[in-house]
Structure formats: structure tokens, C-alpha cells
């Protein structure tokens, strides 16, 4: 009986940990890989222009988060996310972090 209670407790703990994770392990891996592939994009994020001529901004935000955007070019980022800034780099915010 005690064994079943412990097992249930462990399972609930396992389920909670996995349920509250923002991404699966595979998702983390893919994101890490994409960040590796797109390092150059992040390094040159300051060159991206506002206006939607290319979809590289969307890619940058998706993979590195809103914090990767240059606040000089995209000043609204600082207004919307006061804690985010270019200096914090990837992983600071947005759906990609």
C-alpha cells in the first residue's frame, strides 16, 4: 500500500515537472540547434530594419526572443517589455526564450 502511495506521489511529481515545463526536451534541443544555426543573425540583429521587408525579424524573435531586437530600431520593445533590452541578448523574453 505504502509502495503505491509513493509511486503515485512520484508520478504526480513527474507529471507536474513535465506539465509545467515550457517546452519538451526535444523542443529545447531544436531551439538550441536553431540558435546555433542563426548565431550570425543574432550578432547582426542591429542591422535589421523595421518595416517588414523581410521576415528575418520574425525569425530572430521566434528563436532568440524579443530581447534580441535592437531597441534603437524597435523602440517599442522597451515600452512593451520594460525589463527587456538588447543587452540581455537571447533568452530574455518572447516566445523563443
Amino acid at each position: 500500500m505504502a509502495f503505491l502511495v509513493i509511486l503515485t506521489g512520484l508520478f504526480v511529481l513527474y507529471a507536474l515537472i513535465n506539465y509545467t515545463r515550457p517546452r519538451t526536451y526535444l523542443g529545447d534541443q531544436v531551439l538550441k540547434d536553431l540558435r546555433g544555426l542563426l548565431t550570425r543573425l543574432k550578432d547582426h540583429a542591429y542591422l535589421l530594419k523595421a518595416g517588414g521587408e523581410t521576415n528575418e525579424v520574425a525569425l530572430l524573435v521566434a528563436v532568440f526572443g524579443v530581447g534580441a531586437l535592437s531597441t534603437d530600431t524597435f523602440p517599442f520593445v522597451r515600452k512593451i517589455f520594460p525589463n527587456y533590452g538588447s543587452s540581455c541578448g537571447g533568452g530574455c523574453g518572447g516566445c523563443g526564450s
Binding site: 538550441k32 544555426l37 550570425r40 543573425l41 521576415n55 528575418e56 525569425l59
Partner: protein, 202 residues
């Protein structure tokens, strides 16, 4: 095996964002294997992730296998590590030499088309297969000069290496056209032997 025309781009870090954000317009991406000889596994894994987004073909540029000089074993071992991890269906290299006498040319150079370079190439291909486990598809190169001492025509020399080594052929149309311009022959007359060769895979 040729399955229809596909349009691709070479994978370069400068182009990575543009490639990944325009995958609907790109059929395939060519990755230079040599760029990953020293890469950690994490970086190699990212190529597998790339391969899930778009078909990837792998290409080598620094073996210099078309030579009477044996291919460097250390370089082959690095290549074997990368190929072993990525497990591609195929990969390609140039029918060129890139070093001699301890000097790196930094260029894909055409060797003299002789029996010696045919034998050297075949011997190198055996060595490559032994170390890497997979022999490359071979690509024709462009050259500015017809090296003195060449005794065979390019189609004959190429066809002999392909048939004697049973290797596949990557027919680079741009290189063929360049050679046709440089040496004043008809593209179709020169490639007639090669292009109909059953070894053409890409």
C-alpha cells in the same frame, strides 16, 4: 540518382537567416563538410536539425583526392567523424588537387590528366572508403590552364576514374561551361561522354 531539377543554395552563416526564412523557395542546401571538421557535436547536431527543415547535401572541398599524392589520413579521420555522425546518404568531393610538396594552394586545381593521376585518384578513393566508410560522388572542376603533361582528354580521364572506382558523378554544369569557354570546345560535345554516363547522380 537524378529525380528532377532542384534549386538550392550553399549554406553560409551569412545566409542562414535568409535561407531559413525562405524555405518555401529553396529545394535544398549544400553544406561544406570541411567547415565542421573541428565542430563540437552540438554544432553537428544543428546540421541534423537543418536537415529536418530542408534537404541537405554534403560537399567536401579540401581532400585533394585527384592526385598521385595520398590523401592526408588525419583529414580523413576528421571527415569520418563528421560523416559518421551525420550519416548522409551521399557526399561529394572534387576531382582536383589542392596541395603538393607541403604547400596548400587554397584552390581547386586540375591535375595533369595522366595514368598516374588516375591511379592516384583511385587509390585515394579506396583509402577514403576504408576510413570514412562511404566514397564520395565526384565533381568535375573548372580550370584556367590545361596542365602540361596531360595525355588524356577531360571526358576520358574523368570517365576512367568513375568507371574504375565505381564512383558516382556530380556533373557541375557551371564548371563544364567555364572549361568550354576557357578552352574553346562545345559544351555538349565535351559532356556527351560524361552526361550520358550512368554514374551521374547529381
Amino acid at each position: 540518382m537524378i529525380t528532377g531539377d532542384r534549386i538550392g543554395l550553399g549554406w553560409r552563416s551569412e545566409l542562414s537567416a535568409s535561407i531559413l526564412s525562405n524555405l518555401d523557395r529553396i529545394d535544398l542546401v549544400e553544406v561544406i563538410l570541411d567547415d565542421y571538421f573541428e565542430a563540437p557535436l552540438l554544432k553537428l547536431r544543428s546540421l541534423l536539425t537543418l536537415g529536418k527543415q530542408v534537404p541537405v547535401i554534403y560537399h567536401g572541398v579540401t581532400l585533394g583526392l585527384a592526385s598521385s599524392i595520398p590523401v592526408c589520413q588525419k583529414r580523413l579521420e576528421k571527415l569520418a567523424r563528421v560523416i559518421g555522425y551525420l550519416e548522409p546518404e551521399s557526399w561529394s568531393e572534387h576531382l582536383a588537387f589542392v596541395r603538393a610538396g607541403g604547400i596548400e594552394i587554397g584552390h581547386l586545381a586540375a591535375p595533369p590528366r595522366t595514368d598516374a593521376t588516375i591511379e592516384g585518384s583511385i587509390s585515394n578513393l579506396r583509402k577514403i572508403e576504408k576510413t570514412v566508410g562511404l566514397r564520395p560522388i565526384l565533381e568535375n572542376i573548372a580550370t584556367l590552364i590545361d596542365l602540361p603533361g596531360s595525355k588524356l582528354s577531360e571526358p576520358t580521364w574523368t570517365t576512367r576514374i568513375l568507371s574504375e572506382s565505381r564512383s558516382g558523378f556530380l556533373l557541375d554544369l557551371h564548371n563544364l561551361y567555364t572549361n568550354a569557354l576557357n578552352f574553346g570546345f562545345g559544351v555538349f560535345s565535351n559532356c556527351s561522354l560524361s552526361i550520358t554516363h550512368k554514374s551521374v547522380q547529381q
